[in-house]
């Protein structure tokens, strides 16, 4: 186990470096630069700005400078938000995104697993069909359609919840973004749980458990649920990625000041360092998360040995 963990840890570094390199050079391929604006800068001032941010140096030199900065934990200054450094912006946005994403994930797991289980236990009944129909709808309707509908209904018509922003940070502001972000995941997870639960309920060890006279609730809770959750656990990695990419859209729609919004605005503004900062941050997050998923897998499935 420890050896596996160490191997994964060492393997993460080249992945990270390749990711940084691709992101660094890809964003430079996009035409236009951070200082192109509708009002053209006088050439002398533009030259001064490029020099100040070392953008006049050859690209490989800039890359070296950037990597050297990263080693010191310095993500560089933001080109667009002139008074902030990228680290400050990432640190301001991350807690918000984490709260949003974490709650969405939690909601998706709790609701998805319960709905999937109910459907499996009542296979081919109306409940089952209803749960599956709802989840199919959840998968088919993209969140950029669902989110404005939720705003219109709950914020504009009913006036129950805020239409956007983070306000004073109260939880009410997070309800709609969390639900919009969680809905597609609820749908996936409930389908996954249902499928695997049905399969598990037909397996021999469940029959044995029932045969030895265990009450049905113990059969499910003690024996069926662990193996039935395995596909859900393996889906956690992709789900995290989906929640992160989903939050880019959701944060934009709800005006939630998280990392996703920086990513979108940064890309449009050619704020190279900000985009890179967000990419690296998310990259590290996904690598770490996948690592934990592998570990959980080992705990849940006695057949997996590292």
């Amino acid at each position: 186990m420890l050896k596996f963990a160490l191997k994964r840890f060492l393997g993460a570094w080249p992945t990270l470096l390749i990711m940084i390199a691709i992101a660094f050079f890809m964003i430079r391929v996009a035409p236009g630069g951070p200082f192109d604006s509708e009002r053209k800068l006088p050439p002398e001032i533009e030259a001064r700005m490029l020099q100040a941010y070392h953008l006049d140096e050859p690209l490989y030199q800039q890359f070296g400078r950037y990597l050297a900065g990263l080693l010191k934990g310095d993500f560089g200054p933001s080109f667009q938000y002139k008074e902030y450094s990228v680290s400050e912006l990432v640190m301001a946005g991350f807690p918000v995104s984490l709260r949003l994403g974490g709650l969405a994930m939690l909601l998706a797991l709790v609701v998805g697993v319960s709905a999937g289980t109910i459907a499996a236990l009542r296979q081919n009944t109306r409940t089952d069909y209803a749960v599956m129909a709802v989840s199919m709808t959840g998968i088919s309707i993209p969140n950029f359609v669902m989110a404005p509908l939720l705003i219109l209904f709950f914020a504009v018509f009913l006036g129950w919840l805020p239409a956007g922003g983070l306000g004073d940070g109260s939880a009410a502001n997070l309800v709609l973004p969390v639900i919009s972000l969680a809905l597609p995941q609820i749908a996936y997870i409930s389908r996954l749980t249902r499928g695997s639960m049905i399969e598990v309920l037909h397996s021999n060890f469940i029959r044995t458990a029932r045969a030895k006279g265990l009450p049905e609730r113990l059969v499910i809770l003690r024996h069926a649920i662990k193996p039935a959750l395995l596909p859900v656990v393996s889906y956690l990695g992709p789900a995290t990625a989906a929640i992160i990419t989903g939050s880019v859209v959701i944060e934009q729609i709800f005006g939630v000041p998280g990392l996703g919004r920086f990513f979108v605005q940064g890309a449009l503004n050619r704020d190279y360092t900000l985009v890179l900062g967000v990419v690296i941050f998310y990259g590290v997050l996904i690598i770490v998360f996948n690592f934990f998923v592998d570990m959980i897998y080992a705990l849940l499935d006695p057949r997996v040995k590292y």
């Binding site: 939690l106 319960s114 289980t117 236990l121 805020p162 239409a163 049905e216």
Partner: protein, 551 residues
């Protein structure tokens, strides 16, 4: 099995889920069914404004985005200011004298002008601000706005140190500005953020970070309280402001909402008192459902297409004229944009004061005559049904730009048989393309006046101006503008500017399409709001009927 489902696992999981919802997602204080919570009582009388995007900076000399402009107008006060309807008003300067040759301005500063920490605002603070604006090390995009001041262009170009700038403090309360030539609109420039003073001690202490919350000391009606990036900027009333007794608002929130449709939703949900703009595609709905909140007014902004004059066949003025005449601007403003825009037959918008725009001579022709002339010119330029003009039309990605581009392509096709390919480019890509005249043919562009004078529109087609994308170089045009810049007699100056505009229009380097409108929603409890031509808005002129709003 059935008992299990009724009582066991699902109940457990569902209650878990409800527990999560209760703990994490529903605000326990406001409870369910409550309206969005009003701001905390210590905020006093609150105004909540939509601000579009995130401000790039709240440093008056470094900021260049319009998303920072109104915030800076609340935070700072220049030598000059504006009235609610946008006319020139005294700011920190209580009076001023202009020398007979129009080249030396002497400003007398108010004795009661104070920074938000109580320090007096002195002439040296303005000297520091303007020197900082032209200093290339600051990287100000607007430094050139001060080009009328002696030495400004040399300093911007790095040929001279900032202290040669012709701005001097004669005493704490007397400031002298020397100009290169009499510049009749000079006072208008002095309420632009570029010419704001800086609090020198904070600048010395914090350097380029002096404008951040906690560091910033400002001299306007408000001061910076907080800035949550990607969310809002919060301003508090400045108790030291000279006219603080007449400022009715205690706290202003500027909420950063890029999408007009998202802004509308938040307005409808009661989270905003005042929007920045409106989504065009919901205008009909707004007109029907929120007629009392809707405010429209002329805006000093022109929407136009420009031709690359270096790029054949657009070097032929007959072709440019044919294309300009072949579109029906009334249809575009009525059916395509439809928010009350004004069809443009000149380049200088109608909202610009003290100016009568020169017009295209064919403005009032009946459509048949206009189209016949367009066809004649098109044929003269060497095109016909069999040999149609093929043109690529660039616009930056936006629903509105796309609709207009499609309408214009269709009008060209119908009237002349032109085959236009409207192509959308991301904004930064469009800006990159325009740098090289050989890489584009026709391109959408827009211009908003920096100050209330025709010069801010006409000067961009001076042969040496950085904004002159078409590459229009006409010695007579340059001469007329230069002469207007030196003419103090307003009547003569108007004639010169009109002559320059006529010259510009007769060469067709650009095809004006419409003049935009100021369009926003303002709640009925916001009192004192009036739209103005530059869309410069000061929160100090507004007040709130708190009884009507409920807080």
């Amino acid at each position: 099995m059935i008992t299990l489902i009724r009582s066991g696992l699902p109940t457990l999981l569902l209650s878990l889920c409800l527990a999560c919802a209760a703990a994490g997602c529903v605000d326990s204080e406001t409870g369910s069914g409550a309206k969005p919570a009003p701001p905390p009582p210590e905020d006093g009388v609150v105004l909540r404004k939509g601000n579009g995007g995130e401000p790039d900076s709240l440093d008056p000399q470094r900021s260049e985005e319009t998303s920072a402009a109104d915030i800076l107008r609340d935070l700072y006060e220049g030598l000059m200011a504006e009235t609610p309807d946008g006319s020139l008003a005294p700011g920190v300067a209580e009076r001023w004298e202009i020398s007979d040759d129009g080249r030396v301005y002497t400003f007398y500063l108010r004795a009661d002008a104070r920074w938000s920490n109580g320090d007096p605002v002195v002439a040296e603070d303005f000297v520091a601000g303007m020197q900082r604006a032209v200093n290339p090390a600051t990287g100000s995009a607007y430094g050139q706005l001060l080009q009328a001041v002696e030495g400004a262009l040399d300093v911007v170009a790095g040929r001279q140190p900032p202290d040669v700038l012709g701005v001097r403090a004669l005493s704490d309360r007397v400031l002298e500005i020397r100009l290169v030539e009499p510049t009749p609109y000079f006072l208008e420039i002095l309420h632009h953020s570029t010419a704001y003073p800086v609090h020198r001690q904070s600048l010395a202490e914090f350097g380029d970070r002096f404008a951040r919350p906690g560091n910033q000391v400002s001299n306007g009606a408000f001061m910076l309280d907080d800035w949550v990036v990607q969310s809002h900027v919060k301003l508090r009333k400045n108790p030291y402001y000279r006219d603080a007794d007449n400022v009715a608002i205690d706290t202003v929130y500027y909420l950063h909402i890029e999408e007009p449709s998202a802004e509308l939703k938040r307005y409808r949900a009661g989270e905003l008192d005042y929007t920045l703009t409106l989504p065009n595609n919901q205008f009909a709905w707004i007109k029907e459902n929120l007629p009392d909140d809707l405010v429209l007014g002329p805006f000093a902004s022109v929407y136009y297409y420009q031709f690359s004059l270096d790029n054949a066949p657009f070097d032929d003025p007959r072709l440019r004229q044919a294309l300009t005449m072949a579109i029906d601007r009334e249809i575009i403003v009525d059916k395509v944009t439809g928010v009350g825009e004004i069809a443009a037959y000149s380049f200088v918008p109608v909202a610009v004061s003290n100016y009568q725009a020169a017009q295209f001579p064919w403005q009032d022709w009946p459509p048949e005559r206009r189209l016949a002339e367009a066809r004649r010119l098109y044929a003269e330029a060497g095109y016909s049904e069999k040999n149609p003009l093929q043109v690529e039309l660039f616009y930056n990605t936006s629903e509105n730009h796309k609709k207009i581009a499609l309408a214009i392509s269709a009008m060209w096709k119908q009237a002349l048989g032109v085959r236009a390919r409207p192509t959308n480019l991301e904004f930064k890509v469009l800006l990159q393309q325009r740098l090289d005249g050989s890489r584009w043919q026709v391109m959408r562009m827009g211009w908003v006046g920096d100050y209330n004078d025709a010069n801010t529109f006409l000067e961009i087609f001076h042969s040496t101006h950085g904004q002159n994308d078409p590459g229009f170089a006409n010695p007579e045009y340059d001469r007329l503008l230069a002469e207007a810049g030196q003419t103090l007699d307003p009547v003569r100056r108007l004639e010169l500017l009109q002559a320059a505009e006529r010259r510009l229009l007769s060469e067709y380097p650009v095809m004006p399409i419409y003049f935009s409108v100021v369009k926003r929603l303002v709640k009925p409890w916001v009192l004192g709001y009036r739209p103005n031509g530059l869309d410069h808005n000061y929160s100090k002129y507004l007040s709130i009927d708190t009884a009507a709003r409920g807080f």
